[in-house]
Symmetry: D5
Subunit: 96 residues, 10 copies
């Protein structure tokens, strides 16, 4: 089941450099593990911003919550979720 | 080059039924032709709405404008465009 | 799987009285059938408005889309969808 | 009498870990006691967020204010309240 | 139990003059009857607008809904409702 | 002359407890003195919030500014002002 | 007593040309009469728009309401009102 | 050439009292000097707020920027600018 | 003197095709004449929309108003105006 | 390929003066280097603000992201990006 998630990162300007580096490294590892599992199906940067658009493929709402609330950057992001479903005009097998 | 486009359809409530059917049929054909060409890479319905999220893969901004302004439903949609680029944490070949 | 849906009805002021009565009757029948099936789990009026808050219990996003887009009032409503999941502090069996 | 309440939690990023743990534990106990009393009738997490949707069943506006302003997380939440009433299409005994 | 209600009137510009006069006359009669009953406790015009601020004193949310949805101008107004309760600093007997 | 004023209190989360208590005590005394003078005609809590709705009866805009800018909580509040006047449908002597 | 009023004109696109001309002529006459009386103290066009910024000098809120609701264009404008008072740094005699 | 400028002051709540007093004194002197030069033509307080509405009479956009960015309170204000021009219905010599 | 203007075109969906063609032809001629005069310095389409971003070079606010209010599409556009001035980091001769 | 970018600078009020001077100097050098390369085609100050409007000429979305995320002021700005393309009414060679 697919979900469209937009994340805008807002780190406090006074967060120490090492803490920023650490949290970003953990975010990257977490994200890549979920991509390998097929749970985080797409991940794009929005050009000109510190934001991304992502497509998640999860079993249900509970798994979505578990994944998103586990993001190392979760406390520092504005996050918007939209449930997706198959579009009647889509011809791609994997758009659902 | 990828663009993220959200389209919300707002047909006038007094549009005749046949005109609605005709415009939707033309929109579907137009969309599927672009999907076959690889220009319209993804197309999802936002669940619980008359809206979609799409990913376009075009040569440049001019081609994006040509495609979107040619949509049969173009005069009846609210449309938001975001340029996308590769995310440094993405591991997928086709996320750019 | 639960979804929280808010619907605000905006009928065109010039819709004929009989058409309004007909569409409302069909909406009521549709809603009550889904309540009997257990798909439409809760339905409340927001006091002082022509709006409701609903909780749907569906198999997945596709079923949610099918139900909502089938509402007789669908073309005349502003609709907002939020996916719900179990709250760690909930003690009710049926809050998920 | 039912009220629909949405709460979005915004803890200051520099709140010490123990203080966060303490305030969350007190919030959980407070919430579960009210659930047992039947005052806090439903409690759901909004998937992909640090927010909840709740249904309260109280005697009047004063009791609603007493309950909400007593929440341990009250100073750290954006809260929206909507009064609910019976929907003419509802078939459930307990939707009012 | 008190509720704060703001109403902004938006009549369609092409509504016939007699219909406007009729609906306003019925709105006035309806409002004054409720004021006499003590249900509509205050009614003020917002200066420089076609809007009012009202305080209702009703038994519960259901009565509020019944009164507001019965307003002759109901289909032509944007309406916002806020539940009120006694303020701990108020010294007036009738502020609750 | 009447004014409708909404005040939403936003105290900094790190304000020391004694300072909070002191500022609230001064706010209460200030408010009650103005209520006794008849300047602050109504004061209600908005249920489920740290906000109030007030009706002021002042000589002119200058007096309104003097009263509101003198509130001990003034630097910590979002404040919205609407001038009120007599509504043609009001039957109450004191609604103006 | 001064009030700051912004008016944005939104004429229905299908209003007949003569009706537009008539309503504008009456608006102009009405406005100039009030300027001659000193009630409408300033009137500026916002460049690049069909909107104005005005300063009214009236006895009280009731007179403001009487003047604004009497504008021939009143049903076709979005109007925002702000009460003004003397600024402590102003050195002009007529800024209050 | 006239410009309409609204300024809302938002001082950090932890700014030391002397610094506040100093910045306000410099703002007042700066403002009064520009009023004497005829550059800052009107200055009003918005009643019930820490905000003002101002009319500037400058040679061009560059001078406007020079004046506004030189305000001692500039870093602590939300500022909105609208270019003004003569209104065809104005009868005042100095409304342009 | 430069102004930044964004225009979003919203033609009524029931405007006859010939009227649309006529108004667009007049808009194009009007725009190109002003470009030739150097008054309309830049004109870009916002990709994926029926909107443009323009830079005007005019003598003053009055000329800006004269040009914009004379646009054949003026009654059908949402228009936002920002005054521009030289940026201290610009190295281009013609950025002012 | 052209992009329209608006940047609003929001420096923390407690940033030390030297740090502000340093970051602004680096921003200026960075901006002027890109202007010399022809990547940053226009740069204007929005009069009365700490904001700019810029036109970038880049190869693709990735280069836009690289340039913008490299701005020394990037963590302190609200940034909005719009893709531009040739307007059918433009007569200028360099508006694309």
């Amino acid at each position: 089941m697919l979900f469209h998630v937009e994340m805008v990162v807002k780190l406090p300007p006074d967060m120490p450099t090492e803490q920023v580096a650490d949290i970003k490294a953990r975010e990257k590892a977490y994200s890549q593990e979920l991509q390998r599992q097929g749970k985080w199906r797409h991940l794009w940067r929005v050009a000109g911003s510190y934001a991304n658009v992502s497509i998640f493929d999860v079993n249900d709402n509970d798994e979505l919550q578990e994944i998103i609330s586990g993001l190392p950057l979760f406390p520092y992001m504005d996050i918007q979720v939209k449930p997706l479903c198959r579009h009647p005009s889509s011809i791609r097998e994997d758009d659902s």
